[in-house]
Symmetry: C2
Subunit: 109 residues, 2 copies
């Protein structure tokens, strides 16, 4: 079953600095929306929209807990970016990249 035409791909998701900061925050801890919002100078509604985009890219997920919605990180989709990048690494590679590429052959599946 191939990917069903994802609405927001991971490349677009990480293109925004606010969203990258959200990812960093969630890499430390899972957090409710209000807590995430407190780290930015924008409204909770705006932050929620960023969270939705990240969730559509499956980089985060949220669970409802009481009146809070707690989001956590799922970094796996970043692997697509990593794979894409690996193609270009050979172009600016230093001497170690041959070994690194060999190591990465294992990667997925």
């Amino acid at each position: 079953m191939a990917a069903p035409a994802e609405k927001h791909d991971v490349f677009k998701a990480i293109a925004d600095p606010t969203r990258r900061e959200v990812l960093r925050l969630l890499s430390e801890n899972e957090r409710p929306i209000s807590e995430i919002t407190s780290h930015f100078s924008m409204s909770r509604t705006a932050v929620t929209k960023h969270l939705q985009i990240l969730a559509e890219a499956e980089l985060i997920s949220g669970r409802k807990e009481g009146r809070e919605k707690i989001y956590q990180l799922h970094p796996e989709p970043l692997n697509e970016v990593k794979q894409w990048l690996s193609y270009y690494e050979k172009f600016w590679s230093n001497k170690l990249s041959i070994l690194k590429n060999l190591v990465e052959e294992d990667g997925d599946s």
Copy 2:
């Protein structure tokens, strides 16, 4: 002298699939604009705009040669993405990532 607030960062530059395809094309060969355009179903003007965004991110550069403008790839700025990604790799890492991270310690500078 720090980076002078780049107008288009590399994350935004690679967010668009057309621009990623341009990078792939230029990874094979340097090419004039018309040649690049022939690979897409959009106007030369539209392609030129993508080229400008990639050039602002310093991922490509163009030189004028006769009446043609020939673009070539400069993949080095992708290193910023790689660095960013490396922080998250530890979260989904398989057993090999420890070795890989050690290897990459050398990386830049």
